[in-house]
């Protein structure tokens, strides 16, 4: 990078990639809900900035075959009413306030990768793919891989890919208040009635969302897959196993100003039980598709 930092406003993805290649590691600016307050407090220095707001192709969302694709610049408000992706819509509705949902984007959530990010927790439960694009083209990473490795200095996140839902899904969270509040604990549950499995991720409890694998297996084995119903004692055990997964997560958060660790694991278990009640109530619970 040479000269004093400035503001670039590319109008297409290819222009953005060229601009980024010319100043690798420049700050990408999407909605600004994380970046702008951080510049203000000095938590982040002002560097070369590349705004993504004018790149219309990054705002598209759509469905093709078995996949849903969400452009990196789609806002939470763009997703909050999307009937094809009920779990993603529920997650988007739980974020921030109307002002934040109108501004904050999918790409920004992945760029920040906050351990408490609501979207990340849902994307982990959905086993999403993250598409990153750079000068040599695009590549797709699993969400776990993306969170571990992130993207190169000359790349940006361009889209997220989700399998089209094959059953109910939901997202539940507990925070200090309903609005504009990061979760103390959150739970994303995705049911796949075709493959007869569930995926469950817990957010806010460790440095990354935690998958509750033993709890998932328990549901796969005990649910009545002809109706999609989980017996009450199995749902109770599911909650216990989720709480255990939190306590035994490798880098679990300790007591902090938001909550004691014991409260978090307890809350995760309760949220998981509630999520199961919504998504695994059997045929009559089909309306849980729209939580």
């Amino acid at each position: 990078m040479t000269g004093v930092a400035t503001m670039r406003r590319p109008r297409s993805l290819s222009e953005a990639i060229d601009t980024l290649a010319a100043s690798p590691g420049a700050d990408l600016l999407a909605g600004g809900t994380d970046l702008v307050p951080a510049l203000r407090t000095g938590a982040r220095p002002v560097r070369e900035m590349i705004s993504l707001r004018r790149i219309v192709e990054l705002r598209a969302r759509g469905a093709a075959g078995d996949w849903l694709t969400i452009g990196a610049c789609a806002t939470y408000a763009d997703l909050a009413g999307w009937s094809l992706a009920p779990g993603l819509a529920a997650t988007a509705r739980s974020v921030g306030s109307p002002q934040i949902r109108n501004t904050g984007t999918v790409g920004g959530a992945l760029g920040t990768a906050s351990p408490r990010g609501d979207l990340l927790t849902f994307l982990v439960a959905a086993d999403a793919g993250v598409v990153v694009t750079g000068p040599v083209g695009q590549r797709q990473l699993g969400i776990g891989r993306f969170l571990a490795d992130r993207h190169g200095p000359d790349e940006l996140v361009t889209a997220v890919k989700l399998a089209r839902p094959c059953g109910p899904q939901t997202y539940l969270k507990i925070g200090a208040r309903q609005t504009a509040s990061i979760p103390v604990a959150s739970c994303a549950l995705v049911v796949d009635r075709v493959r007869r499995l569930v995926r469950c991720a817990i957010g806010g409890v460790a440095s990354r969302p935690v998958r509750a694998l033993a709890a998932e297996d328990h549901v796969a084995e005990t649910a009545d897959w002809s109706t999609g119903a989980l017996p009450p004692d199995a749902a109770h055990r599911f909650g216990e196993l989720v709480a255990e997964a939190v306590t035994t997560a490798p880098d679990v958060a300790g007591d902090d100003v938001y909550a004691p660790a014991a409260y978090r694991s307890h809350a995760a278990g309760v949220l998981a039980r509630r999520a199961a009640a919504r998504c695994l109530a059997g045929a009559r619970g089909a309306d849980a598709r729209r939580p």
Binding site: V36, P37, R40, G42, G96, Q99, N102
Partner: protein, 181 residues
Amino acid sequence: MPATDTGSTPGAALELAPGLAPEPTVSYQLRVDGARHQVHGAWLGASLLSVLRDTLDLTTVKDACEQGRCGSCSVLLDGRLVASCTVLAADAEDAEVTSVAGLRPSGPARAVAAAFVREGAVQCGYCTPGMVVAVTDLLARRPDADDGEVREALSGNICRCTGYGRILAAVRAVQDERAGR
């Protein structure tokens, strides 16, 4: 407490230790409430809120938390309700910024402002410009919004004075008025 120090004093570069780059500045145009403004040499990291208030002196937009949490700085950016403290000013260059002062008189804005005064929804008044923008935005999109929807739509606007009851009453009064009830 409104902060006035935006950290944007370009002259501060003179006092930097040798070898440190000066704070980057940019110049651009902003369109606010239908008027064009030239912004010269503003700090690149400045939020839309700080440029509106401190550079352009448009103090109808209020500044309280600068973290996107309180809604007192709410404006419309190309018609969408946003917290201007989370928007980078230099990135708003080709957007239309609408503050409470520029809301269309043909929409619900006047009725909303009048109802706020009449119903006692204004006490210290600090949250009011942002509230009026948010209520006007809601009623333009959802004139018949029910109580739950109104609360949800205003959940990003914090008021420390009224306890919200008077604000909800003002919204209801505007809805009744506009429906001819």
